[in-house]
Symmetry: C2
Subunit: 238 residues, 2 copies
DNA sequence: AATCATTTGTGATTTACGTCACGGGAACCT
DNA sequence: AGGTTCCCGTGACGTAAATCACAAATGATT
């Protein structure tokens, strides 16, 4: 799927604030151009879905803007959210390299701009760019890492409060901290939090209320302030 | 870590029954030799541990014989088993490529023979062998895939019986089937099964007894026979 | 055989949390 | 303003399953 946006994409790429984190932007110049030639860009509204679990992998999406929810669901409608992807991340990578089906569903939760690379083009590109392949391997390693840590919060907790505490701490890990307090822009509904930690909407709201009563967190509008990381860590450790 | 076993390893490799599944054996001849040169082989007794979660990654282990338990534990001793690795698998790959710490602990549960490749040697090898890097990426993709499916059994179930049923079916997926029945050599203790599905030892034995009563499974010594996959699937789907 | 260690089986008890049900807010559209 | 549609807060209730505590069984080791 050749595209006229090639050059524009390169420029986007070079200008991208996430450049360091991005998978391919700091490859040698010719590689970046080769990549741009097989990339097509598109915008997606909130609620759109990039791919659905079980679909044969068509290719990868590189998220430029917006946020994407990665989840898996059971037959009876229960769903488990694995991750909220941020700009700079590559979606659908594992399925695309292995040739299996997408193992997750990717839903847009904030209007997004993403670059798409079809599977064949992508694999050919990797075959001809050994360093990109290595980069991909590293990215996959990190994705795995994150999955394992999600696994830990769900699988190693004795109680829902432990899960929630674990979740908040992990979520806060990306945010700037000042003197023990972390301000989190909480963009998830209680329902979604529940789906991330494998519990129910009601217990999440109850637990959050509980945490508030115990001065562990504070809610101001849609931002959550962790008043005491230490106490949350105490909950995690039994 | 140059080793005198180089040639021997190539021969093992070519003779290996898992050759197709193995990561590197069907690479071009020169690559295989280069790989052999940086590989060292060792035997490990039952109970030994290849690496521990949290350790900085030293390198990868290619399992030739025996079986290895991959797990993660919380501070208070609760442990979650992610996977039992079989010969042919590569252990420690995600951590080694990303340069982070091992995310899991690898314990030998059946006396094992494994080839070790130190991180630096391995990365250099990958840099010079683009196709190997791609292979690694694919392997990582599959590892991820397995992690997600483990995640599903733990996170999407409403009850412990659902988890156990899911577990048995996944476990059986590798075994030969004849007319609806699958014979599984059950090498795990109830405790270990519990740690795989995130529940307690007692409920596992109770549930298995229950399944036996309901004619879903049958136990003969240490082999488990799934009498009715269909009924197990019914349990999984609500 | 005899002792020990590990694994399995089962009962009794407790409690965390899922589920149902409903009311109040906030946000968004017309 | 009024109607919809989400999201959040809380009460009541029942149950699944963790936990505790032994006993039986299996299997190692001597």
């Amino acid at each position: 799927m050749r595209t006229p946006y090639g050059l524009e994409i390169i420029e986007n790429c070079l200008a991208c604030p996430h450049r360091e984190e991005r998978l391919f932007c700091n490859l040698p110049e010719p590689s970046v151009r080769a990549l741009a030639a097989i990339t097509s860009s598109a915008a997606y509204p909130k609620g759109a879905t990039l791919f659905v679990e079980g679909q044969p992998a068509r290719g990868v999406f590189i998220l430029c803007n917006g946020r994407v929810k990665l989840s898996t669901s059971s037959a009876d409608g229960k769903t488990l959210i694995l991750r909220i992807s941020e700009p700079g991340e590559v979606l659908g990578l594992p399925a695309t390299v292995t040739g299996k089906s997408y193992e997750l569903t990717a839903d847009i939760i904030e209007p997004a701009q993403a670059n798409f690379i079809a599977r064949n083009d992508f694999l050919n590109f990797l075959r001809e760019n050994g360093d990109a392949a290595l980069r991909v391997a590293q990215q996959l390693g990190e994705t795995y890492h994150l999955a394992i840590s999600e696994m830990r919060t769900i699988g190693l907790s004795h109680s829902a409060s432990e899960k929630l505490a674990r979740f908040l701490l992990e979520w806060a890990a990306n945010c700037p901290e000042e003197k023990g307090q972390v301000r989190i822009k909480m963009t998830l509904t209680h329902e979604e939090i529940a789906q991330m930690i494998g519990s129910s909407r009601e217990t999440v709201t109850r637990l959050l209320a509980d945490f508030r009563r115990k001065q562990l967190v504070q809610v101001v509008g849609s931002t959550l302030i962790l008043r005491s990381k230490a106490d949350l860590e105490a909950i995690v450790n039994g």
